[in-house]
Amino acid sequence: MRRSALPNLAWAALLAASTGLLWAFTPTWVPLALLGGSAALTLLVGLYLTARPARSEDEDEERDIPDVSLATVGLAAGIAVAGLGLVAGAWLAYIGAGVAAFGALGLLRERRVRE
C-alpha cells in the first residue's frame, strides 16, 4: 500500500466511526448521508491514491509548467461571467460560456506546445 494514502484512509475510518455513532442515535437520513457521504468520498480518494502508479523522479524533472497561463485566467473570467449571467440574463451566461471555452482551448494549446 502506498503510504501517502494513509491520512485519507485513516480519516475515512474516523468519519465512518462517527457516522456509525450518529446512526446509533438517529436514523434520520440527511445527516447520515452528509457524514457517511464524506466518509465514502474520503475512502474513494484514499483508494485512488493507493492504486495509482508511483511517480518517477524523471517524471518530476520532466514537468514543464509555463510561468504564466493567460488561458487559465480566461477560463476563470469566463466561469465568473457565466455565473453573473445567472443574475443578469442568459445573454451574459452565453458570453461567459464562450470566454470559458476559449480559455479551455488555450489550456489545451498550452498542453500541446509543452508536448
Binding site: 474516523l14 468519519l15 442515535f25 509548467i65 510561468d67 504564466v68 477560463l75 476563470a76 465568473a80
Partner: protein
Amino acid sequence: MSTLAPQEPPAPRLDPIGALAGTDHKRLGVRLVVTAFAFFLIGGVLALLVRTELAAPGMQVLSEDAYNQVFSMHGSVMIYLFVTPIALALGVYLVPLQVGAAEIAAPRMALLGYWLYLLGGLVALSGFFTAHGAAKSGWAAFEPLSDEPYSPGSGMDLWLVGVVLATLGTIALAACVLGTLLSRRAPGLTLMRMPVFSWSMLVTCLMVLPAFPSLVLAFGLLYVDRRLGGVFEGAGGATAYQQLFWFYGHPVVYVMFFPFVGAVAETISTFSGRRFFGYPVTVVSLLVFTALSMSVWAHHMYTSGQVENRYYALTSTALLVPAGVEYFGFLATMWGGRIRLKVPMLFALGFVVQFLVGGVTGIFVGSPPLDYAVHDTYWVVAHFHYTLFAGSVFGLFAGFYLWFPKVTGRMLGERLGHGHFWLMTIGTNLTFLPMFFLGEAGMRRQVANYEAGRGLEGLNQLATAGAFLIALSILLFLVNVARSVRSGRPAGDDPWGGQTLEWATSSPPPRLNFDRPLPPIRSYAPLLDLREEAEDIGDAALGRAVR
C-alpha cells in the same frame, strides 16, 4: 541561523503579466494574502459601521435595512473572503517549501482557484450597487429569510453567485495543497517527517474537500428556490437547508483554525529553541480533531428541535480531548525552552491565551441547556469572535511576522510590531469581552437597535472603542509592512533559527524554491537536527581538547 551579515534581497521587478497570470506558487500565495487582506480591510470598515451604529440606542448612522446589509456582508467577507482563503494562502506559499518541492501540484488549477475566489468576492460585494442593496440575511442566509419575498432584489443573487464562485476557488486551492502534500514531498520526507504546519494544512484540506461542496449545493438550491420556489418549503425545508449549510458552516470554523494552530506551533517551537513536544500524538490528535469537527455541525441547530441533540453534544464535548492535546503540546514545548519574546512569539502567546476563552465558551454553547439560554444573543458573538479573531487572526499574525522575512527577504519592524500587538490585544478584549455580558443581559445579535435604560449602553460603548483600537493597530501594521518592504533590515536565509526546510533556501526563495541541495531529512525539524549535530561535534571537540 546565519552568522554572516545578510545581503540585500533583490529588488522586486515589474511584471504585470506575471502578476495576473503567474503560476509560481509563491507569487500566487502572496497575491492571495494581499487580496484576502484587502477584503479584510473592507470587512473591517463594515465592522466599524456596525459598532458605530451600536454605540448608542436608536439609529445613528445607518437605516435598519442598511444595517442588515452591513452586518451580513461583514460576516460574509470575513468568513468567505478573508480568513478561509488566507488560511489556504499560507499553505499555497509554504507547503511546497516545507516539503522540499519545486512547485505546487497542479499550479494552473491553483491559479484558477485564485481568480475564481477574487472574481467571486467582487461579484458578492457588487450587490451594494444594486437597487435593493447587498445581501441582508446574515452570512448563513437562513430560509425563509433569504427567500425572494424577504430578501428581494439581485443583491442577494449576486451574493449567492459570488460566494459559490469564491468557494469553488478555495476548493481548487485546497486540492492543490493536498496534492502537494501527498505526492510532491522530497525524498526522505515521509508523512511522519512533515512539519506540524504541513500536517495542519493536510487535515484542513481533508475537511475542505467533503465539506465545502455542501455549501455549493445549499446555495445552488437556494438560488433555484428564489427563482422557481418549491425547494426548501415549510419547516422541513428550512431544516434541510440548515443541515446542508452547517455541514459546511461548522467545518469551515476549523478550516479557519487549524492552519493557524500549525503556524503557532512552528512559532512556539522556533522561539523556544525546541522541537514541538509530542509530535506523533499531535499528528494523531489533529486527525481525530478534524474527524470530530466534521461531526458536530448540527449543534448550531439545537434550538430548532429537529436534530438529535445528544449526539452533537457528545461529539462537541469530545472535541476537548484533541484540543487539550494541542494545548499541552504548546505548553510543553515552551517548558524549559529558551524563550525569545519576539513579535511572532507574542502573537502566538496571544493566540494560546485568547483562543482558550473562545474554546472554553465553546463548551458552554456545545451543551444544549446552556445553548438554549444564550442562543442568538451577543454571548455567541463574543464566543465566535474569541475563536476567529482573538484566536485565528492572532495566529495569522504570528505566522505573518514569522514568515515575512522569508517571503520578502526583509524583517518587519520590531517596535511597530510591538505596538501592533499590544494595541490589538487591548482592542480585541475591549471589544469582545463586554459582549459576553451584553449577551447575558439578553441583548440579541443581528439587531440594529436596543432599548435604552437596560444598562447596555456602557458595555456597547466599550466594545465600539475597542473596535476603533483594533483599526488603529491594523493601521500600524500596514505602516510597518509598507516601510519594511521598501527599507526593512535584510533578513538573510534564516533570521530566526528555523527548524523546517523553508529556512534552508534563500529569502525570497528562487523560482524553483531551492538553490542548493536539501539538508538530510531525518525528522520533521531537519535544520534543528543539523544544529544539534554541529553542537554535538563541537562539544566532542571541546571535550577532547579539555582531556
